[in-house]
């Protein structure tokens, strides 16, 4: 479980780097990027097991990134983050293949638990 490779995608640098550091502290291998394109790039070179993906991003939106990940790497688990009130986005994301979604600000223990659930669900 520890040593799990995680990719964090969010346009808020402070948020995403801090979260990555905290996950590192907990023994995960976390990498942070701030836009969809670079995320897709990393996935191609070094695919992670879990991606934490923000829905609302300038440029390529989270749902678009999700779509591409799921078409090319359906085995990667995606957990969505929304800052928006709408659960609709979360549900839409889950319909498009996301494992679950969390509303910002997130609780790190909850995030870890969801990631563990995602890994466990892997066939």
């Amino acid at each position: 479980m520890r040593n799990l490779k995680i990719l964090l995608v969010d346009d808020e640098v402070e948020f995403v780097t801090t979260l990555a550091e905290r996950l590192e502290l907990r023994g995960f291998r976390a990498q942070a990027v701030t836009d969809g394109e670079s995320a897709l790039h990393i996935i191609e070179s070094d695919p992670p097991q879990v991606i934490i993906l923000d829905v609302m991003m300038p440029g390529m939106g989270g749902l678009e990134v999700l779509k591409r990940i799921k078409t090319q790497h359906p085995q990667i688990h995606v957990i969505l983050l929304t800052g928006h009130g709408s659960t609709k986005e979360g549900i839409e994301g889950m319909q498009r293949g996301a494992f679950d979604y969390l509303m910002k600000p997130i609780n790190i223990e909850e995030l870890i638990k969801k990631m563990q659930d995602a890994i466990k669900s892997q066939p």
Binding site: R22, P105, I108
Partner: protein, 574 residues
């Protein structure tokens, strides 16, 4: 009150329902409709009843009056015949005998005896010469040698040739009538023959009319003195107490109130050859008994109809006003609901915006504080370990609290989400206008609808679009004076777009205002304007993928044009 006035008042009473006055207005409305309906129904009924009563009364009267007339006329004829007979006998005698023969007491006596046998009621007979001296006389009185030249009847008989006196009381207090004829002899002498008749025969003739208790028949002379005894008005030569028509006329019927305060139906028939007037009276109450029974029946029917009408009208008015009130209340409620939705959605939008914007920094605080806590927790050597953990915990707790608030706000905003349905734009416009119809009516605002028929359906959010039009229309209404004009036009702009324009001839806007109208919290309204109406409108139209354009000229009015895609493309909007 003219009908138009009344109508204006009715409608006004309907429209102006600030809550405190509302019930009062419905009461007035109810009262007005009630009165109107009662008038409309009962007036014709009254007119009909009145005409019927009048017609029936006059026909019944004719039926009753005609026999009375005939009876009076017949009796008058009998009386006149009686007098005429006596007069012609005297005339015959005056013609058949010479002056000398008649002045002879014996001959006159013989003639009188024959007359007494043949004709009843003669009292005396006498010859009077040119100078008015009684030359011969047969009868119970001592009139021989009496001079009549100073008496008025003498002059009348000299002029007219014959004379019938009014009734007078003779020396023995019996009612008498004197008759006299004049003949000029071949020798150029005057011969006046005078006889007195006992009028008891009059009474007999009148008695033969067989009148009932409520009737009376008698003779009066032209001066109004009774010539025969009357059942109601006294004895012979008393003054007849009722005014009567003068002149020569046929039978005439009048209604008079007599001294006993009875309403009498009176028939007057004047004699042709003498100054008598035959009078036949009957109490009207007795005459019109059948009429009164009918009238009572009619009154009862009338009363029943009126009560029925009043009850029905009352019930009807009640139902009507209740319906109107219900409809009004429903509309009011719907209007309030829309307004409420409007308010809620603007708050919701604001809340969502705030929550969203706050969530991101909050997430950063959360992670930073979390990292601080982690660092402290993983480093056992850290000084003031406990203190730091306490501080970070309290930051995290505060973040948690903020998160709860933003999530609650977002939850609220979520309820305002768009729901796309297929809808008829014209129908939607008309539905929206129904919220403003009352104001238009009350303020005499002319609402012109130029809606293109058979517009294609569009797919959009009904509530949001309604809000768009309601906002623009409300502004148009606020801009125009009472009596102004608002024109709503709809058309198909192109294959994908429908257009709706709302034009008013109100105050218009300056360039500066025009630049700001879609800004949130910008308002020109003195009070009650949130400045969100057009901002929200703009937001919704944009969100639907539409366009909104304004043209305005100060003092001339404004025109708002909304272009809507036939299929809403939901975007981020504002």
């Amino acid at each position: 009150m003219s009908p138009k006035n009344l109508w204006t008042r009715l409608t006004k009473s309907l429209l102006h329902n600030s809550n405190g006055e509302a019930s009062n207005r419905y009461r007035i409305l109810r009262r007005n409709i009630f009165i109107l309906m009662i008038l409309i129904t009962i007036i014709p009924l009254i007119i009909m009843a009145g005409i019927y009563q009048h017609e029936y009364q006059s026909s019944i009267k004719k039926e009753i009056v005609n026999p009375l007339k005939t009876l009076a006329n017949k009796t008058k004829h009998s009386l006149e015949l009686f007098l005429e007979e006596r007069l012609s006998v005297i005339r015959f005698i005056a013609a058949s005998y010479s002056f000398e023969e008649l002045s002879d007491q014996k001959t006159l006596n013989r003639i009188f005896n024959v007359l007494m046998d043949e004709y009843c009621c003669l009292v005396d007979l006498g010859l009077i010469n040119k100078k008015g001296i009684q030359l011969s006389y047969v009868g119970p009185y001592e009139f021989l040698g009496k001079n009549y030249s100073k008496q008025s009847w003498f002059h009348e008989v000299v002029v007219k040739g014959n004379y019938i006196s009014d009734v007078f009381m003779g020396y023995r207090q019996f009612p008498h009538v004197a008759i006299a004829v004049l003949r000029r002899t071949e020798e150029g002498r005057y011969l006046i023959l005078r006889a007195t008749i006992d009028t008891s025969k009059f009474d007999n003739i009148i008695a033969s009319m067989q009148l009932d208790q409520e009737s009376d028949a008698f003779l009066i002379n032209r001066e109004g003195f009774l010539q025969t005894p009357s059942r109601f008005y006294g004895k012979i030569l008393d003054k007849y107490p009722v005014s009567f028509p003068m002149g020569n006329y046929g039978p005439i019927v009048v209604e008079e109130v007599d001294p006993q305060k009875r309403i009498m139906l009176i028939v007057y028939v004047p004699f042709t050859r003498s100054d008598y007037i035959m009078v036949l009276t009957k109490q009207r109450s007795a005459l019109l008994k059948p009429w009164y029974t009918l009238k009572t029946k009619m009154l009862i029917i009338f009363a029943i109809s009126v009560i029925t009408i009043v009850l029905i009208v009352f019930k009807l008015t009640d139902t009507l006003v209740k319906r109107v009130k219900d409809a009004d209340e429903k509309r009011e409620l719907a209007y309030k609901e829309v307004q409420h939705t409007h308010k809620l959605s603007s708050i919701g939008r604001l809340a969502a915006g705030v929550a969203h914007e706050i969530n991101n920094p909050l997430a950063i605080i959360n992670e930073k504080a979390g990292l601080m806590k982690d660092l402290v927790a993983y480093d056992d050597q850290f000084w003031k370990n406990e203190k730091f953990l306490g501080l970070t915990d309290s930051i995290l707790k505060s973040v948690e609290r903020c998160k709860e608030i933003t999530h609650r706000l977002l939850g609220f905003a979520r309820r305002m989400e768009v729901q796309l349905v297929k809808l008829d734009l014209n129908e939607l416009i008309q539905e929206t206008l129904s919220f403003l119809n009352k104001e238009a009516l009350y303020r005499n605002i002319v609402l012109k609808l130029q809606l293109t028929d058979n517009l294609p359906y569009i797919v959009s959010d009904r509530g949001q679009l309604q809000q768009v039009f309601l906002n623009i229309l409300s502004n148009a209404f606020a801009a125009v004076e009472d009596g102004g004009e608002v024109v709503v036009t709809s058309w198909e702009e192109d294959l994908d777009t429908l257009g709706v324009s709302i034009q008013d001839n109100g105050s218009g806007m300056s360039e500066e205002i025009l630049r700001n109208i879609f800004d949130p919290f910008f308002t020109t309204k003195q009070k009650g304007g949130t400045g969100l109406g057009l901002a929200i409108t703009y937001g919704i139209v944009k969100k639907m993928g539409g366009e909104i354009k304004v043209k305005s000229k100060q003092g001339e009015g404004s025109i708002f044009t909304v272009y809507l895609p036939k299929k809403a493309k939901i975007g981020p909007g504002e």
